[in-house]
């Protein structure tokens, strides 16, 4: 007989676990750390470097000085414990509250705390739209009025009147755009809201303040400080710069010459000037131009400047996203009869913003870190406070512990934003080229 080539399997093999060298921790290390002699060498050298640094730093970090109330006491503690060099964490224990709240009245700490807890609640439906019920958006819309009221205090009628302006404007828009055209509706809405804010609201809030004085104890801006101030400036600038940036980016692409060149001029001017300069303008020059006696809150001035600054950068980031969209998307939208605003809102912006997420978040992170510049014009953000603390006789000469702590908190927020942007990019991935 010739050789048998026909073959029939009579028994099916059971599924077996893969060899331990290709899965689990060992497999992972093999694939990622020791896959060749070069990779192995790099891994070993890196481990060595990391170890050396850790050995140097860890004892310093873990020093037993939480109790010290001054730099000298801390040194004595270190000497007594025979600990060599060590961090003087006493300063953080003693001043962390101040680093968080500045000189905000301690009996009112609950207000900023509540404000930031509510901030998380207001952001939730925006940041995690698919996991949080959309009804919470109503609260998000109300939050911009609750936030300043909680922080600065005062009568409740002020923020209510400000909100009422928007409501009245919206009603005017509904009525007029239903009866006439939507352009007239927009105009009517804006006019009604402006009339309310400029003419009526002052009088009515004054009246209500005297009849029904419901409110919180006012807190002056100069008492604000610490991370509370940084986060306030950061959040407001971030929240306002995105819509402003979108408007500027669209304006820059507009066919209307005047609009276009106004936007280009604004963007290029703001980008050409350092933020510090704008902040100095806010803190000193603006007062000169204001009629004497007007009290234009310093934090408000800073907020406006930081927002304008951020929105110019945002506009350029978004313009990049717009430029990356193929022309076919505009044509697809046009060919279906969508008008300019519908096309922008439904087709162009969702895609352009998605493309620009990394750039947008980088700008956000930059803005948040730039809030430390306000220490230069005398606001007591964490850096401003650290200067004050270092000027204190007890802690004169302390550097690493203070800045390390501030850096850690900034890192916490910035890293959070960066991770969120990665989450968002993954979520919005729809598998197109």
């Amino acid at each position: 007989m010739s050789k048998q080539i026909a073959y029939v399997r009579t028994e099916m093999l059971p599924q077996q676990a893969p060899p331990s060298t290709s899965v689990g921790a060992i497999g992972w290390m093999r694939a990622n750390l020791f896959s060749g002699w070069l990779n192995t060498a790099i891994t070993l050298v890196s481990l060595l470097v990391i170890l050396t640094i850790a050995v140097e730093i860890l004892p310093w970090v873990l020093s037993p000085t939480w109790g010290g109330t001054s730099l000298n006491e801390c040194r004595e503690l270190l000497a007594a414990a025979d600990h060599g060099s060590g961090a003087c964490w006493g300063v953080i224990r003693e001043r962390w509250i101040q680093l968080l709240f500045g000189f905000y009245p301690p009996e009112l700490y609950w207000r900023p705390i509540l404000a930031f807890v509510l901030l998380a609640l207001a952001l939730a439906p925006i940041l995690f739209a698919d996991k949080v019920p959309a009804k919470l958006l109503v609260f998000s819309a109300a939050y911009p009025f609750i936030f300043p009221w909680l922080l600065w205090g005062g009568m409740i009628w002020g923020p209510l009147a400000a909100a009422a302006g928007f409501v009245l404007g919206a009603i005017a828009y509904r009525v007029v755009s239903g009866a006439f055209s939507s352009l007239l509706g927009v105009i009517a809405g804006v006019v009604v809201a402006l009339l309310w804010w400029l003419l009526l609201s002052g009088f009515i809030t004054g009246l209500l303040d005297s009849i029904l004085p419901i409110g919180l104890e006012p807190v002056e801006s100069r008492k604000f400080g610490g991370f509370m101030l940084s986060i306030t400036i950061g959040v407001v600038a971030i929240a306002c710069s995105l819509p402003l940036g979108i408007v500027l980016a669209l304006g820059r692409q507009s066919d209307l010459m005047i609009v276009k060149y106004l936007c280009v001029g604004f963007i290029e001017f703001i980008r050409g000037v350092p933020l510090i300069t704008l902040l100095f303008v806010a803190s000193t020059l603006l007062n000169i131009f204001m009629p004497p006696g007007t009290n234009f809150d310093i934090i408000l001035r800073v907020l406006i400047m930081v927002t304008l600054f951020a929105s110019a950068y945002m506009a350029e980031v978004i313009r990049g996203g717009l430029a990356a969209l193929p022309k076919g998307q505009y044509e697809g939208a046009d060919s279906l009869g969508l008008n300019y605003w519908q096309a922008q809102r439904l087709i162009i912006m969702p895609q352009a913003l998605k493309i620009s997420i990394p750039g947008i978040v980088s700008t956000f992170i930059g803005v948040f870190k730039d809030t430390t510049l306000v220490s230069i014009i005398g606001l007591l953000d964490p850096l401003g406070l650290s200067n004050a603390i270092r000027a204190d006789a007890n802690w004169n000469g302390i550097v690493w512990e203070l800045y390390g702590f501030i850096a850690l908190i900034f890192f916490f927020f910035c890293f959070g934003m960066s991770r969120y942007s990665m989450y968002l990019e993954r979520k919005l991935q729809t598998g197109h080229r």
Partner: protein, 263 residues
């Protein structure tokens, strides 16, 4: 460019050209900068006509049909669509665009929306159709182009032929009276070309007014009632398909036909 055989019986019972004028282009000229792309175009399209526009690359075919829904602006002459003149009046433009469907060479689906959302978007926002009804219409047309089971996928997850059929369905959801096609099959493999042509033939069988820029001469022969040949921005020759292919008049047309039919 091969001539793909169309191997099915075409039902001509509803393919009727009426007397009603659908598109009228009168002495139309267009320039890109100083370059005269379209020169003195005169064209009348009656309702129910199926017109194929052919011509060498760069002859202005795309530009011509893109002028009809004003993706490009003409500089002189007049274009009337269903009696409405295309001027810079935005209201007219949006009205005409919502009545004229268009399919592009590269589909131009919206990649961030699902197939169903692509199809319901314009009916909901432009026609103000209730969402429920828009979804029903969309599913109806997706069934017609034979991809109802892909409704919840994203365009990026579909093949080219499927994407082009979605694009056709998306236009149909607006219930257009005229369909414009700009080389709908030239980015596709032969098998997918057939799927898309089948869909287009079905549309023609239902009496849709169609203007197609295409190199599919089989489609032109069997489905079109008129073939227009363009060169250097001008209409050089137009005729019934039989005559056009078998008895071309101008030298330019003869050369073109001998090149694309390869004999």
């Amino acid at each position: 460019m091969s001539e793909l055989a169309i191997d099915r019986e075409i039902d001509r019972s509803k393919m009727k050209v009426s007397d009603e004028v659908s598109i009228e282009i009168i002495n139309m000229n267009k320039w890109y900068g100083t370059f005269h792309v379209l020169r003195d175009i005169n064209l009348t399209v009656n309702s129910g006509e199926r017109i194929v526009i052919a011509g060498p690359s760069g002859s202005g075919k795309s530009t011509l049909i893109r002028c009809i829904n004003r993706l490009e602006e003409h500089q002189s002459g007049r274009i009337l669509v269903d009696g409405t003149e295309l001027t810079s009046d935005l209201k007219n433009i949006d009205k005409i665009r919502s009545d004229v469907g268009m399919c592009f060479q590269h589909f131009n689906l919206f990649p961030h929306l699902t197939i169903l959302e692509n199809c319901t978007l314009a009916p909901i926002w432009v026609r103000k159709t209730p969402r429920k009804e828009a979804i029903d219409t969309a599913m109806h047309f997706l069934e017609k182009v034979k991809i109802p089971d892909q409704a919840n996928k994203y365009p990026g997850q579909l093949s080219g032929g499927q994407q082009q059929r979605v694009a056709i369905a998306r236009s149909l959801c607006m219930r257009p009276r005229i369909m414009l096609f700009d080389e709908p099959t030239s980015a596709l493999d032969p098998e997918m070309i057939k799927e898309v042509l089948d869909t287009m033939i079905e549309l023609a069988e239902e009496g849709m007014t169609m203007l197609c820029v295409t190199h599919e001469m089989g489609f032109a022969r069997q489905v079109a009632n008129r073939v227009i040949f363009m060169d250097q921005g001008q209409i050089v020759e137009q005729n019934e398909p039989e005559e056009f292919f078998n008895n071309p008049q101008s030298e330019r047309t003869k050369l073109f036909l001998s090149q694309i039919l390869g004999h």
